[in-house]
Subunit: 575 residues, 2 copies
């Protein structure tokens, strides 16, 4: 096979299936816990490193007190796996980090490590997912698969958390609102910010302020100006170039500043509006005028630097009306402080009064954007108070997942050398579900998903129209027969290793976003509501249930030699 | 000046003072909010882009309910600034993101943008800092300085937050404990993890599990094995290579597995220990034995996969005693679940009993590491319960700053063209402190810092032994005379621009860590305690106080044309 030198590292042709590396070049095989390398050495030393292991990656509890999670981060995982090679300088560093007694042969082994013999089955990115069901099943030589544990968890935990957070914000805001992610400055590091932009968009946001994320992922960008822009001006006198051509180019206004001031005087003389304000802030008026001269077709002004109703809104309207004289349509305003419900309603009334008094069609519909520490609760409160906001800019709470800043995804060994394994714990929720499994989502008549079921790999799949017993994995009394109207297999092959299976394509982010929105739409609303949502049911087959409890008894409390109970005992078919 | 092509981008020699780019190559001029570019265009269009502006970067409230913050992230900021150039593909993307009406001249301007005319004064990294005092003062052409707002906030907010979190964990754990950062898998993205490792170490942690962070920053690495390693073994029978040479190489044990089993039988027959356990888990025993064969000098075992006291501890001790026969000294155990206080005490008793019964010196002092969702509160609870833990592995709560996942650093215009600027707000805590300022820390007789004071740039500095009036910036009645025993200027020049000033060096992380520990040590303990800490005082000079309130009245509520009040009116000296 042809080998090409890339950055000093040998990459064999076609191994990575033409898949680029991770978005962040810092995602390398060293982005893992040291113990993955010490274990790899111990496996290698014991001659166990090539033993075939199956791990499940899953989480135990939905975040944010909810009953659903959006799965995200898969593409970055596959990009890592497709390009997983340990470079020579990395091997040198590992050698320096392990005890000097470690044998050279191990480093030769690491030089040859890649994921060509690793098989990844995963739920598709953007799917709605639930606790205990594997998001990803990773099968391969145990030493290699363990090295993947930390980076895969890192790439999936935050991605899924922030996509879920975005979906929850969308649920509260409603479909008609524009949702903008504004969190870069408060994110947990540079790609905390870039990841937040990517996965907020995936979870249903419309745009981001983050230019780098716009370039990397094609996410629509939004942004206007800050308070500093407003206070950097002193007065309209400092505007020297006052010329503005009309929208259609047919004529030009030689002194746009005067036109704005004429409008401001008209507004002040108005019976309806004049009582609301007196002298507006001239620094702000200068800033708005100057911004409009730069962006006559995209004029959106931040109106709360001094006083929203007594300065910002009248100043904005004077500029917007001057622009209108020249054939332009102002975009709108942004409110970044104060009582957003009240101010948005007052601003709307002001716009509507202008539409009526000056006969400006649609001026009443001027777009109102709100920002300032918004989150699910404040959106909900705004809805209850009644507001006139068209677009929300959400930052800190969205990107840092303030309400719950971590998703507790785990990575557990479920089988080695065809021997199912269980991890026990005094806390039942922490007991792992053993065996290499298949997972299905069963749909009811109305098209809603009813239940997810895990079955042993070689059990026959649930069939449409045939009843199947779905059991709670750890509660004997919780079980129900279900007759699915539609059966969907959840785990698909995204990295076939040497299995010869077809590889699922990685769709573009826009399609994942659409899939995610569709997935969220098709859930029964009682699972989705903010207060007291109904848990979605996750189950195991009767056979898997029996096997879990057989294995549990065998291992606990002080089981002796583990009984060999081969996986194919779970099969109804011969292997 | 000689120009060299680097990655297709022209970099002029020596501009970056030999400073490398940011650790994460994704930190580029595009890692900013779109509005920084729309504002840059509006400034450029108005001919204002070269106006000299001064911005302060500061925060308004200490995190975690505390009364102090550790400042971190400076080095990454300087690395960005030193290498700040907009590449051609980035300019093409900005052009595609702005309205087509934007003029070509702007993109020519962007091509020439760098930070050679930007001046950065900053508090040193690792310092203890307080609300309102500028962490960084950024001076330069307004369009350029605004582009820096978002990345500087991104690089400082999380860095300072996690360094503070680490310092708080250290404060509760005490100086004698080993603190290990284990959070990569739960961090907010890849460099959420890498940043957490770097800044936890800076804030006083001893080591990390994150190999990439170890390589990048030289942070000590720690790690042993996981539960999966334990459950990947079935029984000691599968260990084929049983040979272990003694520590000094003088002899070899042909069957280390048997030696371990001999010790396990001895322990079981012991009067003191035998009653505690019966049959231990053989899968665990095999894993420990195998790990010891791989790492005889570094044997540290995770003992809670099945049952700590009835399996994990006896198995560990059997292996440790077998190692001792060959001249090795086991490192210790890790507890990852259950009642850590109780289990650590029981484990300690078991170790001490072995020391006594089998005459093994120091076996009672075997290191006990604890992990499992630890945070400030659980550390505090463990202290109150009494425990025998020597080392703590802390992950999720540390790296995601679970108790408060964002620091609200802001970036405010304080002066433009020598005109001081103020940003008003109905919330007094959000009013900015205008003027280009100098900041001093005043120390008392006992060596403790007493108060930070901000003064106008040209006011004379506070002098040792001379009393100075320190005023609360917004509360008229809060003021006090202070006679400092030592005066420290806080803002130092880290990027001189064209000022000709000397540039402060960026010290290695180890020195920053030492500085940080020293800084924390020298604070009065009542500022540092977890419950009801005393606020540290932050003040302004009498002159600056008067000026703030003059400017405030002038701008609010609907000030007209801003009165020009030149900065040098604040000076007692002639300029």
């Amino acid at each position: 096979m042809a080998a090409a030198k890339v950055n000093g590292q040998t990459k064999e042709g076609k191994r990575n299936c033409g898949i680029d590396g991770p978005t962040n070049p810092m995602v390398t095989p060293l982005l893992t816990d040291l113990y993955q390398f010490t274990m790899a050495y111990a496996y290698w030393k014991a001659g166990k490193h090539e033993e075939r292991a199956v791990f499940d990656l899953y989480f135990r509890k939905n975040p944010f007190g909810g009953e659903y999670t959006v799965f995200a981060g898969l593409e970055e995982c596959i990009k890592l796996i497709a390009n997983f090679r340990i470079a020579e300088d990395e091997i040198a560093f590992i050698r320096a980090s392990l005890p000097p007694s470690c044998e050279d042969g191990f480093y030769d082994y690491l030089r040859g490590v890649d994921c060509s013999n690793v098989e990844i089955h995963s739920i598709s990115e953007g799917y709605v997912v639930f606790p205990k069901v594997p998001l990803m099943r990773i099968e391969g030589p145990i030493a290699v698969v363990q090295l993947l544990e930390t980076p895969l968890l890192n790439l999936i935990n935050y991605a899924s958390l922030v996509a879920t957070n975005a979906a929850r914000h969308r649920f509260v805001a409603g479909k008609s609102k524009l949702l903008l992610e504004f969190g870069l400055r408060r994110a947990q590091g540079p790609d905390g910010g870039i990841g937040a932009s990517k996965y907020s968009y995936m979870g249903g946001f419309d745009a981001t302020s983050n230019v780098a994320a716009g370039k990397l992922f094609g996410i629509p960008l939004r942004g206007t100006h800050s308070h500093a822009f407003v206070s950097s001006f002193m007065s309209p006198d400092e505007i020297t170039d006052k010329l503005l051509h009309s929208f259609d180019g047919s004529n030009a206004c030689e002194d746009f500043v005067s036109l704005v001031q004429t409008w401001l005087r008209k507004l002040k003389r108005s019976h309806v509006l004049g009582g609301i304000f007196g002298e507006t802030n001239q620094s702000e008026l200068a800033a708005f005028t100057s911004y409009a001269l730069a962006f006559p077709s995209n004029f959106l002004a931040l109106v709360d630097t001094y006083d929203v109703m007594r300065s910002g809104i009248p100043n904005f309207c004077a500029v917007a009306l001057a622009l209108k004289d020249l054939g332009y349509k102002a975009v709108g305003i942004r409110l970044d402080s104060g009582d957003l419900a009240y101010l948005s309603c007052e601003a709307r009334k002001f716009f509507q009064a202008i539409e009526k008094e000056f006969g400006v069609p649609d001026f009443g519909k001027t777009c109102i954007t709100a920002s300032n520490d918004l989150n699910e609760e404040t959106l909900d409160a705004l809805n209850k108070q009644g507001h006139q906001v068209d677009a929300f800019g959400i930052g800190t709470h969205l990107v840092t997942c303030y309400a719950q800043p971590a998703l507790g995804g785990v990575f557990k060994l479920v089988e080695i050398n065809n021997q199912p394994r269980i991890k026990l714990s005094e806390d039942v929720s922490k007991v792992s579900i053993p065996c290499k499994k298949r997972c299905y989502r069963l749909y009811g008549k109305e098209g809603y998903p009813l239940v997810d079921i895990m079955v042993g790999e070689n059990e026959p799949p649930p069939k449409v129209g045939e009843r199947i017993l779905c059991r709670h994995p750890f509660n004997e009394s919780k079980r129900a027969f279900v007759v699915p109207q539609h059966v969907e297999e959840l785990l698909k092959c995204f990295w076939p290793g040497r299995s010869g299976k077809a590889r699922e394509e990685l769709p573009p982010i826009k399609l994942i976003r659409e899939r995610c929105i569709k997935q969220l739409d098709q859930m029964r609303t009682d699972h989705m509501r903010r207060l007291n949502p109904t848990p979605y049911k996750v189950s195991v087959s009767a056979k898997l249930y029996d096997f879990i409890h057989f294995l549990w008894l065998n291992e606990a409390p002080c089981g002796r030699v583990a009984v060999k109970f081969p996986r194919h005992a779970l099969s109804e078919r011969d292997e």
